[in-house]
């Protein structure tokens, strides 16, 4: 017991001695410091943010990241508690329309001058940029991009179907599924059954049928568009997808089926680009599967945007303010974005990053090309299933309809259209 006390005192004493010069220095030139919270604690996400922290420290900053593992909601609970206590982190993970919603409950940092100095606005997809400047001023910065409607094809299932053409439209897709079924693929679709997964099936269907209808109905909640023929067609396409799935999928995540997918027992999967990293981590090779943009009836790629971002909360401390400026510069830096995306398997936010070099996969290159095309054709839209298109309350109400429709095959597309319109009306 006495030994511990002495050791503890010694430690405390030496810590104080060490801290003194740092304190003295802070009085003079401010040493940038950043307090940050995010849910990224493990796997490639954890590795990526740790690497970002290292870069921050290399630039002479003090990196204080507190990860809140688990669901995004857990991270939000911590953020809420800190904001209510008047002690928000200098920067925190937050994305989509939640940036606008949360920026109303606590003051944020105006990043306009830093963004303008970096010439960043020109290289960000316009719809994405809008989310990060809700009142016209940049208060948050996107970090990396995924598309939620990439089409994954199993090579072995393609062999069984004797097909080698990547489907472009939904009609091609449906043909291929029938061929796979006839060729002995037990379940042509390999998706899972979580809420987000069911939401993705719908958003991929609608955006592929008509990006304009998706924008009007899902992003702008136009009442007429919500009851339009495209919505009904999307529900009909979604029913086909669910009929080709393993009925035992229940509420399992898509990753449960990856082995059956690679083995050719299941054929196709509509999933976000992150599935590439999961497939690779599970030990599968690039020869086992093909990644292509999701089906689009007009033949041009449709990109359902999902982007992680950091929002910056106002702090008075000079060292935190310096840290925020440094962090903003780092997040916009093409080298940093390259480093980050190469770890997580996403693509950079900047549309001017060259992906032809080493460290990128074909899937990432195709995704980046699809984004460029989609932006040029005004076919880059925001993902509903991954909380980019609407605030959480509305998103959840709409996904209720999709997930019920996916599991209850007695609901007709007509009924589903009515339910969707009612759900939107009920939570407006």
């Amino acid at each position: 017991m006495p030994i511990t006390t002495t050791r503890r005192r010694l430690l405390a004493g030496s810590a104080a001695t060490l801290a003194l010069p740092a304190f003295a220095r802070a009085q003079g030139a401010v040493k940038p410091r950043l307090t940050a919270i995010s849910q990224w604690s493990a796997g490639s996400d954890g590795a990526a943010i740790t690497a970002l922290g290292k870069k921050f420290e290399e630039k002479g900053g003090v990196w204080q990241h507190s990860p809140v593992p688990g669901f995004t909601t857990e991270m939000m609970n911590k953020l809420r508690a800190q904001i209510i206590a008047g002690d928000p982190p200098a920067c925190s993970q937050l994305k989509g329309p939640e940036i606008a919603a949360w920026s109303k409950i606590a003051p944020t940092v105006d990043l306009d001058s830093i963004v303008a100095a970096a010439g960043y606005e020109k290289v960000v997809a316009p719809d994405l940029a809008k989310l990060h400047k809700p009142e016209g001023k940049w208060i948050a910065l996107p970090l990396q991009i995924y598309s939620t409607n990439m089409l994954f094809l199993s090579k072995r299932a393609m062999d069984k179907a004797k097909a080698d053409k990547i489907p472009v439209t939904w009609a091609d897709f449906n043909d291929l599924a029938e061929k796979m079924k006839a060729g002995g693929v037990t379940f042509p679709i390999a998706n899972g059954g979580t809420r987000a997964d069911d939401g993705q099936k719908f958003e991929a269907s609608l955006a592929g049928i008509s990006p304009a209808a998706y924008r009007a109905a899902i992003m702008n909640l136009d009442t007429k568009a919500l009851e339009g023929p495209e919505i009904k067609a999307a529900f009909a396409q979604m029913r086909k997808i669910t009929n080709w799935m393993d009925p035992n999928v229940g509420a399992q995540p898509y990753a449960t089926n990856l082995k059956r997918f690679v083995d050719g027992d299941m054929g196709m999967m509509i999933m976000g680009g992150w599935a590439q990293g999961v497939l690779r981590n599970a030990g599968f090779k690039f020869e086992d599967f093909v990644i292509a943009p999701g089906p689009s009836d007009n033949g041009k790629p449709v990109f359902l945007l999902n982007a992680d971002a950091f929002i910056f909360w106002q702090r008075k401390e000079p060292d935190l303010q310096a840290g925020q400026a440094l962090m903003a510069q780092l997040v916009m830096d093409p080298a940093i974005q390259t480093m980050y995306s190469q770890i997580t398997g996403s693509i950079p936010v900047r549309t001017d990053v060259d992906l032809s070099g080493e460290g990128w996969s074909d899937g990432q290159r195709r995704t980046a090309a699809a984004l460029k095309d989609a932006v040029a054709n005004n076919q880059a839209v925001l993902s509903l299933a991954h909380n980019m298109a609407q605030q959480n309350g509305l998103t959840a109400a709409m996904i209720d309809v999709f997930t019920e429709y996916a599991k209850n095959k007695t609901i007709t597309p007509d009924q589903a259209v009515t339910r969707l319109a009612e759900a939107v009306e009920g939570s407006r």
């Binding site: 939000m76 809420r80 209510i84 919603a101 509420a251 997930t403 209850n408």
Partner: protein, 309 residues
């Protein structure tokens, strides 16, 4: 030791008189009691207040009347949750009561190894609901659980896919909940069975009553108070059920197995609608009161009858 203590208190009592002498006792009882009551009451009142405010992401002041309640009551989620609660609550309470009683009667037959069996039946109670839910979600999954086992044994037309059947999924929660808590009912019933006066049973035997008749006419009627206790305890579990459902079905397939507690959590923490979530929580409290108030009234009548007799 005991003697010394008791003489000491008796000797000390006249010296420090009344309230002051009993101060430690008061402190021991009243401080924790008041603290927990204040905790419970203040947070309940706070929730009620939030339920009338326009709070969304964070609590805010303001008055929106019954708007949050109307929104919750009109939502499909709440309707499904309420219907499920009626079905789950009644099926679970009734079936766990019957299972517990049958187990208790069987154990009451002075069998060998009673202690071991009693431990086995009570054991699930020591397991957390999350564990129960996860284990049963594996067992009941048709692709990897019981159905697959039977298929692999050769009976390939066997079907047990309630977990993914939206009409039957609520029954999987009933099954898991009964597995978890019928041991609790059994323990209470067994204590009740054992406390029946042996002389009365002897008298019934002398009168020529068989075992079935003795149970029906003599023993079971004395179990009334225990039955009521079991029903009330199980009902309040059913109403506040959260972790079990969250781990077993997470409200699915689709939203077929929503329960009120899931709706509250979903509204508050996933949808960022604190006001509506609080309204749903207050509605849950009202459902609980609807169960507990009649019970309290019944206890009151019983007590009065006892004192009058």
């Amino acid at each position: 030791m005991t003697e010394i203590v008791s003489t000491a208190t008796q000797a000390g009592r006249p010296a420090i008189s009344g309230v002051v002498g009993r101060l430690p006792e008061y402190l021991m009882i009243w401080v924790p009691l008041l603290l927990s009551a204040a905790h419970l009451v203040s947070f309940s009142l706070w929730t009620i207040w939030i339920s009338f405010s326009p709070s969304t992401l964070v609590p805010v002041t303001g008055w929106v009347g019954l708007r949050n309640y109307n929104a919750v009551l009109a939502s499909r989620n709440w309707h499904i949750a309420f219907d499920n609660l009626l079905l789950f609550g009644s099926a679970f309470v009734l079936l766990s009561l019957i299972t517990g009683l049958v187990l208790a009667i069987l154990l009451d037959q002075r069998i060998r190894g009673e202690n071991v069996l009693r431990t086995i039946f009570l054991y699930p109670l020591a397991v957390s609901f999350v564990v129960t839910g996860t284990v049963w979600s594996w067992l009941l999954n048709p692709g990897i659980g019981i159905q697959k086992l039977v298929h692999d044994l050769g009976w390939t037309s066997f079907r047990f896919d309630w977990l993914i059947d939206r009409d039957m999924a609520i029954w999987t929660i009933v099954i898991a909940a009964i597995w978890q808590s019928s041991g609790f009912a059994m323990a209470l019933f067994l204590a009740g069975l054992r406390s029946v006066d042996a002389d009365i049973i002897k008298a019934a035997q002398i009168d020529g009553a068989g075992p079935v008749r003795i149970y029906r006419r003599v023993i079971l009627p004395t179990l009334w108070p225990i039955t009521i206790t079991v029903v009330v305890v199980q009902l309040q579990f059913a109403i506040s059920a959260f972790d079990l459902v969250r781990a077993l079905t997470n409200g699915g397939p689709g939203i077929a197995t929503q329960l009120p507690a899931l709706v509250v959590y979903d509204l508050m923490f996933q949808r960022g609608q604190l006001g509506r979530g609080a309204a749903a929580a207050v509605l849950m409290l009202l459902i609980l009161l609807a169960v507990l108030l009649p019970y309290a009234a019944w206890r009151y009548v019983q007590r009065r009858r006892a004192t009058h007799a």
